[in-house]
């Protein structure tokens, strides 16, 4: 398994404020990556392991650019159709908390990596695009970091992040399917909620 710094970097990428709306998805990724790297390179707190600060950063700058409902749907596969509207909301919220919490950690292992952007192939009419980048680390093979984005009325949103060929979201599918089979959608919600409580007993 490769460095999950790449994973959080992925989460960060999608962060830029509203002015990014008319940008193409690859320009968006590039701008946000550059912005985030500047911040992380200067922030000694984050580099020395302050996950709380990394989470703050993610929540402030990244979340608007991710479509967590879609990510949750992807993680659940066909089981998504079994959930009511209210359950879907609850699932997305819990999954979002989980992803943000666990992968913000990865940002704290930043060590002078740089990002290389690969050319993006898309038509101007495309609504679903793959943007490919690479994390370059001295002394190691580069790690592929890919984003799937979809076009919404309010701009491009990421719905999957793939690190070294591993979809961060689909990696949960078997676990989620097993839980739904065993304990239903409510069981899955409970499992996510318990995990989140475990990771952060202080917060609600």
């Amino acid at each position: 398994m490769k460095s999950f710094f790449a994973a959080v970097l992925g989460l960060f990428l999608l962060c830029a404020p509203a002015l990014a709306q008319e940008e193409s998805p690859d320009a968006l990724i590039k701008k946000v990556t550059d912005d985030v790297l500047i911040i992380v390179r200067q922030d000694k707190d984050i580099q020395s392991g302050n996950t709380a600060k990394a989470i703050e950063l993610v929540e402030a700058k990244v979340l608007p650019f991710f479509n967590f409902q879609h990510m949750t749907a992807l993680a659940m596969g066909r089981d998504w159709t079994k959930a009511s509207a209210e359950q879907k909301k609850r699932l997305s919220d819990e999954f979002r908390t989980l992803l943000v919490r666990t992968y913000s950690n990865a940002l704290t292992s930043y060590k002078n990596q740089t990002v290389r952007y690969k050319p993006t192939k898309m038509q101007s009419t495309d609504t679903d695009v793959l943007v490919r980048t690479e994390i370059v680390q001295p002394g190691n093979r580069p790690i592929a970091l890919d984003y799937f984005l979809e076009k919404h009325s309010d701009g491009w949103k990421v719905y999957d992040v793939v690190v070294a060929g591993v979809s961060l979201v689909s990696n949960y599918r078997d676990t989620f399917n097993q839980e739904v089979r065993a304990n239903g959608v409510d069981g899955l919600i409970q499992m996510l909620a318990n995990k989140n409580k475990q990771l952060d007993p202080g917060k609600k």
């Binding site: 398994m1 990865a106 093979r141 592929a144 799937f148 990696n171 399917n177």
Partner: protein
């Protein structure tokens, strides 16, 4: 008569596979030997109780240039095998580039300690015999988890056996030197995986499942050389 016998055998085989599938894979057809694998996983976790602190010690104590040098040295040895596999897979250009890497790094890079080739633009690849078999069309086979070696599909387990025969460290005559070198390599490998440990601890509901699923995805992607596959169950933006 033959027909009836064949049919009966067929039914028995089907029944046994269904039964064993139900018995061992209540949940997962892609991991039919899950109980065996989980036992091996537990053995590995036991080994890690000893190995991880050693790797952490190495990671903390060794200066960065030393760690980089060690990593580069073993990486250079492996580049030879990567080149062979690239050629076997028909990827001549990549194979040639890998040969170039070995030549440059062994000479200018002083025995592989410095990865000069990467700075010259010769990208590092990683190909093993399992990937070659995959490229040749051999199917994955069931998933296995082995102590120390870790996750391998059936095909990749065979691939690993071939990799070991080709391994120059394992082929050394001097047993003492061989063991020392292999030991250092193991610690170096374990140390390089330390950053992901914390993530896996937090992200995974079940560590075994998480590692297995990530491995299987990664292998699929490695064989198709990194282009992320569109999800089979989900089309476009929809899973339904």
């Amino acid at each position: 008569m033959n027909n009836q016998l064949a049919k009966r055998i067929g039914v028995v085989v089907l029944a046994v596979s269904v039964m064993s599938a139900c018995a061992t894979t209540a949940n997962n057809p892609k991991d039919p030997y899950e109980s065996f694998n989980r036992a091996m996983f537990a053995v590995n976790e036991g080994i890690d109780v000893v190995l991880k602190p050693v790797a952490q010690g190495y990671d903390a104590a060794a200066p960065l240039p030393v760690k980089a040098g060690v990593g580069n040295f073993f990486g250079n040895l492996y580049d030879v095998w990567t080149a062979v596999n690239n050629f076997l897979q028909g990827k001549g250009q990549q194979g040639a580039s890998d040969v170039g890497r070995v030549l440059v790094n062994t000479t200018i890079g002083i025995g592989g300690i410095f990865d000069v080739a990467s700075e010259m633009g010769l990208e590092k690849h990683s190909e093993d015999f399992g990937q070659t078999l995959g490229k040749w069309g051999v199917a994955d086979g069931p998933y296995f988890f082995w102590p120390l070696i870790g996750s391998r599909t059936t095909r990749d387990t065979f691939g690993w056996v071939v990799d070991s025969f080709a391994d120059p460290v394992m082929g050394m005559n001097d047993i003492g030197a061989r063991n020392s070198l292999a030991g250092v390599r193991l610690i170096d490998l374990r140390a390089s995986r330390l950053p992901t440990d914390k993530i896996v601890e937090q992200a995974a509901f079940d560590k075994y499942n998480y590692i297995r699923d990530a491995y299987l995805q990664n292998r699929r992607s490695a064989i198709s050389d990194g282009i992320p596959a569109k999800d089979g169950e989900c089309q476009q933006s929809r899973c339904f």
